[in-house]
């Protein structure tokens, strides 16, 4: 702003006055006060508390009012020398990557299908996707738990009909099949967003280009890799990044599946582990340290997304 006003040759006094008037107008600041106040109270204060607590000893004595003792990064050292932490972190990252990849691949496939089929089929597919997308997470979870129920679930019945003996098979008992069920649910929930976003990108590709490529002898595979993929790359990157961020913080799905009767320690991911440390065992120092780790991870991942939003905005 200043660089613009300085060399214009206008009388410096007038420019200065204008600047002054703009700079000291209190209106924009007043308009921001409520939003900033609620953000500071609900996110700012907890964030600061969390940073401080993660560097304090928070034991039994502190619960009875003894002032906490500053221990620096000792909590972090304790946290990251604990194999349990690494098991949870490793599982979370693996779960997140597997789910994000499957979701994006299926999502792109669905978008391509929407583009390839007739109007009626496309509408049917879109309505089905919208329904799944609109379902509240908790409602979806109750349905999926019912679908996989070990006593009367439709999945066990179907597999038994196919000649496999799945009578009374409990899907949530073993960590691996627990994660399989969780993946099915998370992918089912996440695919619609990817599919609709990518489909919106696909509709922007001009038919002339595709036709010209077809006339020049490009097969479907070539058309996909040489035209479609480069054109939808921007939207694909952003959607994939959002999937990674969302799947890393997955909580409700895991918590509900655990509630339905899974072994907790072996199925914990980052969110549920923090919950168990903080709410379950009141180990606020450890829970805070791990929360800070999750926040840093998210901010690092979000960096590119925010950069993208800023770029689109200007």
């Amino acid at each position: 702003m200043t660089a613009l006003t300085a060399p214009t040759g206008a009388p410096p006094k007038a420019a200065e006055q204008l600047e002054h008037r703009q700079r000291f107008s209190p209106t924009p600041y007043l308009l921001l006060v409520p939003a900033i106040a609620v953000l500071l109270l609900a996110l700012g204060y907890p964030l600061v508390w969390q940073v401080i607590t993660s560097m304090q000893k928070f034991g039994l004595a502190q619960q009875f009012g003894k002032p906490p003792e500053f221990v620096g990064l000792a909590n972090y050292t304790r946290l990251f020398t604990d194999p349990q932490t690494w098991a949870v972190v490793g599982r979370s990252i693996a779960f997140c990557l597997v789910n994000a990849v499957i979701t994006v691949v299926i999502g792109v496939g669905v978008a391509l299908l929407m583009n390839a089929v007739g109007t009626i089929t496309r509408l049917i597919l879109q309505i089905a996707m919208l329904l799944a997308w609109a379902m509240p997470v908790v409602a979806s979870m109750t349905v999926w738990i019912w679908v996989f129920d070990w006593r009367r679930g439709i999945v066990n019945w179907g597999l038994t009909q196919l000649g496999l003996d799945f009578t009374n098979h409990n899907w949530l008992e073993q960590p691996l099949s627990f994660y399989f069920v969780a993946t099915v649910i998370v992918v089912w929930m996440s695919v619609p967003f990817v599919a609709f976003s990518v489909y919106a990108g696909l509709t922007q590709i001009s038919e002339e280009v595709m036709e010209a490529a077809a006339l020049d002898g490009a097969g479907p595979r070539q058309r996909f890799f040489s035209i479609i993929l480069p054109m939808i790359r921007p939207v694909l990157m952003i959607v994939a990044l959002l999937q990674v961020i969302w799947d890393l913080r997955v909580f409700t799905q895991i918590k509900m599946l655990q509630d339905a009767g899974a072994p907790i320690a072996e199925t914990d991911l980052l969110g549920t582990y923090i919950y168990r440390l903080g709410v379950g065992s009141s180990d606020f120092a450890m829970a805070s340290a791990l929360s800070i780790f999750v926040l840093l991870l998210t901010v690092a991942l979000s960096f590119f997304y925010v950069l993208h939003l800023m770029k689109e905005d200007s």
Binding site: S25, T27, P28, Y29, L31, L32, P34, L39, A42, Y45, W49, V110, L113, V117, T119, T121, I124, M129, L130, L131, A132, A134, P136, V138, A139, M141, T142, V143, W144, W146, R151, R152, W188, F193, F196, S197, A200, I205, M210, E211, V235, V239, I245, R249, F251, D259, A260, G261, G271, G278, V279, F284, S288, S291, T298, S302, H308, L309, E312, D313
Partner: protein, 290 residues
């Protein structure tokens, strides 16, 4: 958006058999994605005796609304509904007020710190509840706001406000300032010009943002789980979770659980369909322009 011409053009170079395969695959996928929703509705209409039979019933023949009636008779649904409505309304109203004011500030004024505020908002909207809920629990416990509408609402407003500011900012920026200036030339004050000219044009944006806030607050689970630990203060998602928890240890009346899920899901599905388009484009924020 000329789908008709697009289809015609496509037909010219697409081979028919591949089209048939695509249609079949698309229909199978549609079936897979719609099935859980259908299964919820179907089971919600069937009595427990039919759900616990040895073969599943794929159509709600012989069904009734008894499961819904049973839920309405129980008191827990009504108290959870009351909590959910109170929290959701508080969140939507305050979130819209706060976000609208902030959106005005950043799209109608140039001021020091504007760019950093926008940047902060974008980062804050990415912060996961899972990284903060323990500290938020301690905050609310020190403010004596555990198990209260106010406590949860404050956290929800803060969680929803950043994205709402971002969404509304686009709408406000979309109304040309020249319109307001023309009205001011015609003798209206700045405030009058804003409320008579710009505000009505922003109605669709406010509705979309309001529905977004509604969906977030109505569906939220994590923060509610931490802050509302007493059963009489449960919101609908926590109330639904209670059924799942019970199913771990004893035989569950799944018909009633599915009726409960349906009651939670239906308003959401209706509202969601209203704003779906805006949410997609808002999240991807223009990258689909190609």
């Amino acid at each position: 958006m000329s789908t008709a011409t697009a289809t015609v053009a496509k037909n010219r170079y697409r081979v028919r058999p591949s089209r048939v395969v695509a249609t079949v695959v698309a229909l199978i996928l549609a079936l897979g994605w719609a099935f859980p929703v259908y299964w919820m509705l179907n089971s919600s209409l069937l009595p427990n005796t039919m759900l616990t039979g040895s073969t599943p019933h794929f159509l709600p023949l012989g069904g009734s609304l008894d499961n819904f009636a049973a839920i309405f008779r129980g008191g827990t649904f009504w108290s959870a509904l009351g909590m959910s409505v109170a929290i959701t309304l508080t969140t939507v109203v305050f979130c819209l007020l706060f976000a609208f004011a902030a959106a005005l500030a950043i799209s109608r004024f140039r001021f020091k710190g504007r760019a950093s505020f926008v940047l902060a908002v974008l980062f804050i909207q990415m912060l996961p509840a899972e990284g903060l809920f323990i500290a938020q629990y301690k905050l609310m416990s020190s403010l004596n706001l555990l198990n209260s509408v106010a406590g949860v609402s404050i956290l929800y407003i803060a969680a929803v406000v950043p994205f709402t500011i971002w969404m509304l900012r686009g709408f406000v920026a979309g109304v040309p300032i020249e319109l307001e200036e023309a009205a001011m030339v015609d003798g209206l004050s700045r405030t009058q010009a804003f409320f008579r000219i710009t505000f009505p044009l922003l109605a669709p944006g406010l509705v979309a943002s309001g529905v977004y806030a509604f969906l977030q607050a109505w569906n939220e689970f994590t923060v509610a789980l931490v802050i509302l630990q007493k059963e009489e203060y449960q919101t609908l998602p926590l109330w639904l979770r209670g059924f799942v928890q019970a199913s771990a240890t004893r035989e569950t009346d799944w018909g009633q659980v599915m009726a409960a899920s349906t009651l939670v899901a239906v308003p959401v599905i209706i509202f969601f369909l209203i704003v779906q388009g805006r949410l997609t484009s808002g999240l991807v924020a223009g990258s689909v322009k190609g």
